[in-house]
């Protein structure tokens, strides 16, 4: 047998219920990413977001004062001739500094092929900034969470050729340099051995900070210049005898190379 509840009672009750629930909940913006985020708000309404823009970086790869090129012979300051035939780096954890605080650009990773002329960041909040900080490498969370296959092929962290990922436990290669080196005692410009610097793991995550004022807004296309000096990467390294490290296999060489990384980047 069915129990019939008088319709009017039901209607009244539901109306009451709806209005009662509504009354308990504070209305406001519940999205922490919004400008008017209200931590006490329970019912979402009326979020306002900062406008965002694309920020372009014009990269200038150099060797000392001359333009850097893959496959070209350069002379290390110890006199050793060498070539870089391929290089690539990851950038992540972009933070925009301003007088009022810091803005972290979440989930943006840049795969930069070492001879290319630039890259872009998207959805950068508009604002007046006093500086910029970022990692050369990949933050520890992303470094060990997924394998490249689990990203879209076009994603910066997706599979790359040559390899930019070692394995589940070693994570990504943050910086990769492959080339050749002339190991003769009297250099003859004939390359005798492979050069291979593959740097990664959390311990060797580098961070660079640049004090530079710039603004980001929807209407004007902002371009920042970034210089990468390949001479700096190998500063103070006896390249003739030390030209291979895959980070953990030759820790002494890795430790020597690591401080050079942040020095190689500058923002003129």
């Amino acid at each position: 047998m069915k129990i019939r509840i008088p319709r009017l009672t039901l209607l009244t009750f539901s109306l009451f219920l709806v209005s009662a629930l509504g009354a308990c909940k504070k209305e406001g913006c519940t999205d922490p990413a919004a400008l008017n985020y209200d931590a006490l708000a329970q019912r979402d309404c009326c979020c306002e977001y900062a406008s965002t823009a694309t920020l372009s970086f014009k990269v200038n790869p150099e060797f000392g004062n001359s333009p850097f090129e893959f496959g070209k012979t350069f002379y290390h300051n110890s006199g050793t001739p060498f070539k870089i035939n391929f290089s690539a780096f990851y950038f992540s954890g972009f933070v925009f500094l301003s007088d009022t605080g810091e803005v972290l650009l979440k989930d943006q990773y840049v795969y930069y092929r070492g001879d290319s002329s630039g890259f872009q960041l998207t959805d950068v909040p508009s604002g007046q900034y006093t500086g910029l900080r970022f990692f050369i490498g990949i933050d520890s969370l992303a470094n060990y969470s997924n394998l490249p296959a689990q990203y879209e092929a076009s994603h910066a962290l997706g599979p790359k050729t040559p390899l930019m990922h070692w394995s589940w436990n070693a994570g990504y290669i943050f910086l990769r340099f492959d080339g050749e080196v002339d190991t003769s005692l009297v250099p003859d410009d004939i390359m005798d051995d492979a050069l291979s610097f593959h740097i990664g793991t959390n311990k060797y995550l580098s961070s660079v900070t640049f004090n530079k004022s710039f603004s980001v807004n929807e209407n004007t296309q902002q371009v920042l210049n970034l210089s990468i000096d390949y001479e700096q990467f190998f500063e103070g390294i006896a390249l003739r005898n030390n030209h291979v490290t895959h980070t953990s296999d030759f820790p002494d060489l890795t430790n020597k190379f690591w401080p050079n990384i942040s020095k190689a980047f500058s923002m003129p």
Partner: protein
């Protein structure tokens, strides 16, 4: 009373709308010429969530169920060889991850023995060059090569088109897949490419342990896994990378099989025979290690009968050779002839390699002989 009538009416309207929405999925308007409307269904891969995203098929050959079904029939049809005694499957046996049942070199219909080892056929769409020497740039381009090859199926392609036209089953299958009953070499290639593209294998023990938290590696498998990824152990991963879940970079490498100080020293020039470039001599495609325990013998020429022989080679018998990529294969290893693994370490790596076997793929009935 009045309200409930409105409610009823409202319900009816919703019902009608829902039913009519369903009807949209129903086929099929039949055209005058008795052929059903050409309306192929896009192929959906049955892939686990952790699997890599498939690169898309070329725009002019999207993968469809109809195309895959036709390709499968062609793959298993002996009509595709010159004397109708061999199909693709004759040298690509599903039980062996589509390799030639342990044979070092396959023998074609004319009794000619090839010089390279039959390759496994899973997860092909992730590579962009095919064959050990990379001579095909797409699966479509690859598909007809063994059929026409004198030492393999030795078929005359125009004649094959005629044979298929004469077979009652094929024109309708071609129509369903491509919207035309006009059979051509191009469409044969496209259909086979679609079938090959549909064959995926990502359900091995490795996947279960690694991504589904189901089961564990044995102690030996775990040691092997660690050795595989250790530069001071097997150092396998520089070429057989885990990052794309395929255990191959799909690059072309010289792994030190042949001592060569000049290009003439390579008995088989590999990629060099395709590109003609000195620096490509002695390079061969890095094969995926998925299902590797099923694909003996090993290397481009099938020189090693077992995985143990492969591990012995990498441990102690590497040769200095032209065109070795020292970023992947270290000079310090070459200097001493290899990775110098103990017998136990070799068996541990072999145990790990067995976890890459996908029993479901080699039994999957959607890849099997449709004529049986």
């Amino acid at each position: 009373m009045k309200r409930s009538r409105i409610n009823n009416m409202f319900f009816m309207v919703v019902l009608i709308l829902t039913v009519s929405a369903c009807q949209r999925d129903l086929p099929v308007t039949v055209k005058d010429d008795s052929l059903p409307e050409y309306d192929p269904t896009p192929f959906k891969y049955d892939l686990p969530a952790y699997a890599p995203r498939l690169p898309r098929a070329p725009a002019d050959n999207p993968t469809t169920y109809e195309g895959v079904s036709l390709g499968r029939m062609l793959f298993y049809d002996k009509k595709l060889s010159g004397d109708n005694t061999q199909s693709c499957a004759s040298c690509h046996n599903q039980a062996n991850a589509f390799t030639d049942s342990g044979r070092r070199h396959s023998v074609g219909i004319l009794g000619i023995e090839g010089k390279r080892n039959s390759m496994p056929l899973f997860n092909l769409d992730f590579a962009d060059r095919f064959f050990w020497d990379g001579r095909a740039r797409s699966l479509e381009e690859q598909a007809l090569m063994p059929i026409a090859d004198h030492s393999e199926m030795a078929e005359n392609l125009p004649q094959l088109v005629e044979e298929l036209k004469a077979d009652k089953r094929y024109p309708a299958k071609f129509y369903a897949a491509f919207g035309t009953t006009e059979i051509s070499e191009e469409l044969i290639a496209k259909a086979i490419a679609q079938f090959l593209r549909s064959m995926v294998s990502f359900r091995s023990k490795y996947d279960s342990v690694r991504f589904l938290n189901k089961g564990f590696f044995s102690e030996s498998e775990q040691r092997g896994y660690e050795l595989f990824f250790s530069e001071s152990g097997g150092d396998c991963f520089h070429c057989h990378s885990e990052g794309n879940l395929l255990f191959s970079t799909f690059t072309f490498e010289n792994n030190g099989l042949t001592a060569a100080s000049q290009i003439e020293d390579f008995p088989d020039p590999g990629l060099g025979s395709v590109s003609g470039l000195t620096e490509d001599y002695g390079l061969f495609k890095v094969p995926s290690l998925r299902n590797v325990a099923l694909t003996a013998p090993y290397m481009h020429d099938g020189r090693f009968a077992t995985l143990k022989e492969v591990l012995d080679f990498y441990s102690d018998s590497l040769h200095y050779s032209l065109n070795i990529n020292y970023s992947n294969l270290k000079r310090s290893h070459l200097e001493v002839g290899g990775m110098k693994l103990s017998e136990d370490e070799k068996w541990d790596i072999i145990a790990f390699l067995h976890t890459l076997t996908d029993g479901s793929a080699i039994r999957d009935s959607s890849y099997s002989d449709p004529f049986k």
